[in-house]
Symmetry: C2
Subunit: 321 residues, 2 copies
């Protein structure tokens, strides 16, 4: 694969006025509070059940921008390609990036491609950096989290991590476990349109899973968090796979999941609102912010006990995203 | 190296209100035309004479933003680290990023760190994405290039490429060939302050060298370009190294070099203005835009002949930046 061929594929696919300038950068009009997020994607394998590294790289950064309470609009795209990457695979990834970006309503405006020798990379790594304007009604900050606030999650947890993991381990289940990678930006924007400042916090528990995000929030707010095991949304098959592999689903990576921490008086409305959206149809309130157990996350277990959920040390599953 | 340790080093070094939010993104105030540029750096070796991959990653993207006629203000930072990278080396790189960002007047506002297994990367790859507001007097575009415009270069060419190359080949010269990596944003901004719209075009000839940039301009504008070999600024030692290695300095990568294409009536003033700036002290007019030899770059050689400079096919030196 020559650089020229790579460039041709990229320019033909992302054909738009920004990228067609073929300059070292793009010029866009932006105004006001702009959320910016960057992420490098090194997932292995690069094609997995339910998606591929390209789709992940778009959804992941779009979601990170959305979690800032913003409307993602533009993405930059940086490839590091290992020599010998199959050209058909590269084309599939680039096309998948284009389709996913269109779905998300974002444009790829500038990019860069580097090639490294065989054995100095692993097929392909992708960096995406996303930009978007903060929603006018958004006031998302850990500082706005109050005692009594409810924690709502939009759907089934641990799917992405278990999809990658069972593929790596060659595990087979009755039906496939499929990554939940998807874009959450429209649902977030609808939530902010409707509930505005009463949405206190948003976060997608990707690497490190739900437990890491909740532990960070408890730490940062100096409050306690209680969650209820019987409320945690998890598919039977995913729960079974976690058991087989000895993994706690609270620590497993998600890609299409987010939590929102909301004023207690709107919690039921938020759950109902999310259930009416395809990306939130399994939404449920899983817990609340407490004035006890400061800086700790406490799980009320199925059998009536309580246990402290400790933050994840290191990465449970490397190269999950 | 655990992720926690990496994070601690990063947060302690880039201590600022944006990155301290520890969110998945940063929120900044921006207004108007914003230039955005992204670049992944995979240079090998990661430490070289005159710089390191961290310094390069800041200067490179800062310069790309500046070449859009903009004032770089913020950078995002994405690391892909190979397991086993020496912790002291990582700290040196991170500190170098901080020092260079300070020199450039930009802030690192958000970042991401991924770790891959030994043998699946090569020590460290860095993506930086930069943004900044377009200078109010800037009107930089290939569309503004006119027949008769002059091409000015700020200083010695081929230094970065030859520094990397002679280090890789173990070549020794009387004194070391040192990379020219540096930030050009202040000089560009001063030029725009002073000459405004009469600066028609800016570009830094990094990968592919001067010939690639000039060939692209000839192609895009449908005009011809004539350059004069006796005007090309090149250090004796660099010229000698190129000869030994059989490389044409016109194709060798630069990091602290830029060309500007300006209205012919200000060309001498621009050269003089640049010579009064440390980053342009070896500035010289190397050629002009012509109404003949459409889409071609013609070199008037030292011995009085003419030859066509063809665009570089593929990369002359892989992993130069």
């Amino acid at each position: 694969m020559t650089r020229d061929l790579l460039d041709k594929i990229i320019f033909n696919t992302f054909n738009n006025p920004f990228i067609n300038q073929k300059h070292d950068g793009a010029i866009v009009d932006l105004e006001g509070k702009i959320a910016i997020s960057t992420d490098s994607f090194v997932v292995s394998p690069i094609f997995f059940k339910g998606g591929n590294i390209g789709e992940l790289a778009v959804n992941g950064t779009v979601n990170d921008v959305a979690m800032c309470g913003a409307i993602p609009k533009y993405l930059s795209l940086g490839f590091v390609i290992e020599e010998g990457l199959n050209i058909e695979e590269f084309i599939k990834i680039v096309e998948s990036i284009k389709i996913t970006a269109d779905k998300c309503g974002v444009q790829i405006i500038t990019g860069d491609t580097k090639v490294v020798e065989k054995g100095k990379g692993d097929k392909i790594f992708i960096n995406t950096t996303g930009f978007g304007k903060v929603h006018p009604k958004a006031k998302i900050s850990a500082d706005h989290i109050k005692t009594g606030d409810k924690i709502v999650v939009n759907g089934f947890i641990a799917q992405h991590g278990m999809a990658i993991m069972s593929q790596r381990q060659g595990l087979e289940f009755e039906s496939d476990i499929v990554s939940d990678t998807t874009n959450l930006n429209y649902l977030i924007s609808d939530l902010l349109d409707t509930f505005g400042h009463k949405i206190h916090f948003l976060r997608d528990p990707t690497r490190g899973g739900l437990s890491s995000v909740l532990s960070e929030i408890a730490e940062d707010t100096d409050k306690g968090i209680t969650i209820f095991e019987n409320k945690l949304p998890i598919e039977n098959q995913v729960a079974a796979a976690c058991e087989i592999l000895g993994l706690d689903p609270l620590y497993v990576a998600n890609e299409g999941v987010f939590i929102t921490i909301v004023a207690s008086d709107i919690a039921d409305l938020v759950v109902e609102f999310m259930q009416n959206n395809d990306k939130g149809k399994n939404a449920v309130c899983i817990g609340e912010i407490t004035n006890e157990n400061h800086k700790k996350v406490v799980l009320n277990s199925l059998i009536g006990g309580k246990r402290i959920v400790s933050p994840l040390i290191g990465e449970q599953l490397p190269r999950i995203c």
